[in-house]
């Protein structure tokens, strides 16, 4: 199972990747939407964990791009905002979204649920 983490908060996802690795989940880290697109073009992933608010391409826009590149990819959104705006909610209805600061066990559980369902 391969996971890609996309967030501009570098320290956060570096730590998250290390902790996922400790729990047997291989996670690649990119700090922007552009890098994520590049990364997905070269290799395949099962789950993408995206920050909704990022400079440049936002999480939602990135989901659209990545879906076309890798149609089987599942998404989990992470946001620092307590709530997601109504327009964003429609787009991510089928996906999970988690609030920062997030609990790693919940994240792993969501990743597992998604991969099982797929």
């Amino acid at each position: 199972m391969k996971v890609i983490l996309v967030d501009d908060e570098q320290k956060f996802i570096n730590m998250l990747a290390k902790r996922l690795a400790l729990r047997g989940i291989q996670a690649d880290v990119v700090f922007s939407g552009e890098d994520a697109v590049k990364k997905i073009t070269n290799s395949t992933y099962d789950v993408a964990v995206l920050d909704i608010k990022m400079p440049g391409i936002s999480g939602i826009q990135l989901k659209r791009k990545l879906s076309t590149l890798n149609p089987g990819l599942k998404f989990i959104f992470v946001t620092g905002h307590g709530a997601v705006s109504k327009s964003d909610e429609d787009l991510i209805e089928k996906d999970f979204y988690l609030s920062k600061p997030l609990d790693i066990e919940t994240l792993i559980q969501r990743i597992k649920e998604l991969t099982k369902a797929g």
Binding site: E9, K11, F12, M15, L16, K18, R19, L22, K53, M54, P55, G56, S58, T79, G80, H81, G82, K86, S99, K100, P101, L102, I104
Partner: protein, 586 residues
């Protein structure tokens, strides 16, 4: 009892009289001085309502006064004329009788005492008022006498009346006492004897009869009717001037055969004075008839009417003033209560809006805090993992690096909470010296990340030369938060927001906040400062943001105007005084 009265007075006493200034509410009142409004309202209404009443009353007074005056004049003139005719007739009648006697009898018969006594008797019977008859020679000696006094043989050649009689054919004297010491009038007729010398027939008239004639014209206590001679000495008694022979201070007019009426005063009382010189067809008399009518006495009907008018006008004025006072108090009070409710609601709304603006900021701030919290969370979790997963190699350097990372994230959180607190503390009114640069950058700091995410280019151009402002920083901050929040809502990705400040003069600073957002449709542009106008129906906008911003700018003594073109962008221009004026501040 006293407490009860005090309590009931307190209940009726209008609310605005008990108004207490509240710095927070002051600026929301439409009228600042309700006392002034109340007194002005009473004054203006009273003047408007009472002046026609007063003017009409005065005109009415003048008209009545004029007509009463002319009526009085007419009445006095008629009375004077009638009395004058009677007096003249009295004199004329007796003079004619004497002329007839002289012509009929001749000197011889007249000097016979018996004959003279008979003539006197007949004169008394026919005319009355004649007390004696005498015949004088040209040397002044009395040759015959008929009457009650023993005056026969007396010589009159030095008597004034005799000297006067010599000069004229007929003579009527003033009233005088003479030898008999009783006031009387003399009528003398000069006639030629057969020997060409002359003699004088003299009749003495008692003044009683004359006075009776005059008295019969008295129409009331307020009328005084009397005779004076040409020197102003009373010839008959007068109610106002005293007894016969009293010298009066009456003005002696030039001779005129007509009756004249003038306005005058007698013992400081206004009177109407009618006078007429008395003369007969054959001889002038030394008498002037005077008729004095006291105006007040004659005007009692008018005075009674005036008293009634005064009462009616007085009561009307009191009633009008009472009604006006009551109505003004009621209206002012209602206005005050409505204004007070409005002011309280506006204050509440302003505070709510302030809270809403802070709420809006809080959402941004939450994101800013959640990011470092997530870092702390994961880093601390990782350190825990290092100890939980026993086989995992760990070094002190790595642990320290991770803890540093946690501390750094805590610092980030600290900075953000400090900024937020700086905002929340501004609720109280406080004037202080502030730097526009700092306040703008404080406000923008909350939008920094959002601008970054959305690719919004924010440019701030505030020259260092701009003076520090002395103003209510809380209000200024709120103005900026409202406008910048609005701008961010209107901006799409890649748009620009420019904040440009310039110093217009030493006392004024201009701040322009312009964006290249969606702009405001022309129809809405005129409504944006109206309360409750909002186009953000799906976003739960209160419609108060800009209306409160307008109010806040006014409170800081500034002005704000907006220019907007749909699809091009919006520009808010705010001019603010460098130093807020004491009076403006609230």
């Amino acid at each position: 009892m006293i407490k009860k009265i005090q309590a009931s007075i307190k209940n009726i006493w209008p609310e605005f009289h008990k108004h207490k200034q509240n710095d927070h509410l002051k600026s929301f009142y439409t009228f600042t001085d309700y006392w002034h409004l109340w007194t002005m309202s009473i004054f203006v209404l009273a003047v408007t309502a009472l002046s026609p009443l007063c003017i009409v009353t005065l005109i009415h007074y003048q008209l009545i006064q004029k007509s009463v005056d002319s009526e009085l004049n007419l009445r006095t003139e008629r009375l004077t004329s009638n009395a004058k005719r009677s007096v003249a007739f009295f004199m004329e009648e007796r003079l004619d009788a004497l002329i007839f006697t002289v012509n009929e009898m001749g000197y011889e018969q007249l000097t016979e005492n018996d004959k003279l006594a008979e003539i006197l008797k007949n004169l008394k019977l026919g005319f009355g008022g004649v007390s004696d008859l005498s015949v004088f020679d040209e040397d002044g000696s009395q040759v015959a006498y008929a009457g009650p006094f023993n005056l026969k043989g007396k010589n009159y050649k030095c008597q004034p009346w005799f000297l006067q009689s010599l000069k004229k054919k007929y003579f009527i004297s003033e009233v005088f006492t003479g030898y008999r010491d009783i006031p009387h009038i003399i009528i003398a007729v000069k006639s030629i004897k057969p020997d060409k010398s002359f003699f004088i027939l003299r009749a003495t008239l008692d003044t009683e009869r004359l006075m009776k004639t005059l008295t019969s014209y008295k129409t009331g206590d307020h009328t005084d009717i009397f005779l004076i001679n040409h020197k102003g000495i009373l010839q008959t008694p007068s109610t106002n001037y005293g007894n016969i022979f009293t010298q009066t201070d009456l003005e002696i007019f030039n001779y005129s055969s007509n009756t004249e009426v003038t306005m005058s005063t007698c013992q400081k009382v206004p009177v109407i004075l009618g006078h007429s010189f008395i003369s007969t067809d054959m001889v002038d008399t030394p008498f002037i008839l005077m008729v004095q009518k006291k105006k007040a006495g004659m005007m009692h009907i008018w005075l009674k009417l005036r008293r009634n008018i005064n009462w009616t006008v007085g009561i009307s004025v009191v009633l009008i003033v009472l009604v006006i006072t009551f109505a003004s108090t009621f209206m002012t009070n209602r206005l005050y209560l409505i204004d007070k409710a409005k002011a309280e609601a506006m204050l509440q709304m302003e505070q709510n809006q302030q809270l809403a603006a802070i709420g809006q900021l809080a959402a941004g701030v939450a994101h800013e805090i959640n990011n470092p919290l997530a870092v702390i969370n994961q880093t601390a979790g990782y350190v825990k993992d290092l100890y939980s997963f026993k086989d995992e190699p760990r070094s002190d350097a790595e642990i320290i690096e991770n803890i540093d990372s946690i501390l750094e994230a805590v610092d980030r959180c600290g900075t953000i909470t400090q900024q937020l607190l700086g905002f929340v503390r501004q609720f109280d009114i406080k004037i202080k010296k502030i730097s526009l640069q700092k306040i703008v950058s404080d406000v923008l700091s909350f939008h920094k990340k959002e601008a970054e995410y959305r690719g919004i280019k924010v440019t701030v151009s505030i020259p260092d030369t701009i003076s520090d402002m002395e103003t209510d920083s809380g209000k200024l901050q709120q103005i900026l938060v409202n406008i910048i929040n609005n701008a961010f809502q209107a901006l799409d990705e890649g748009c620009c927001l420019d904040i440009i400040a310039s110093q217009i003069d030493t006392r004024t600073i201009e701040l322009v906040i312009q964006d290249t957002g969606c702009g405001i449709p022309e129809d809405n542009l005129s409504k944006i400062n109206e309360p409750f106008f909002s186009t953000k129906q799906d976003q739960m906008g209160t419609g108060l943001g800009l209306s409160i911003t307008y109010g806040l700018v006014k409170k800081l003594g500034g002005n704000i105007f907006v220019q907007s073109t749909e699809g091009v962008g919006t520009s808010f221009t705010i001019t603010l005084p460098v130093k807020i004026q004491e009076g403006e501040f609230s």
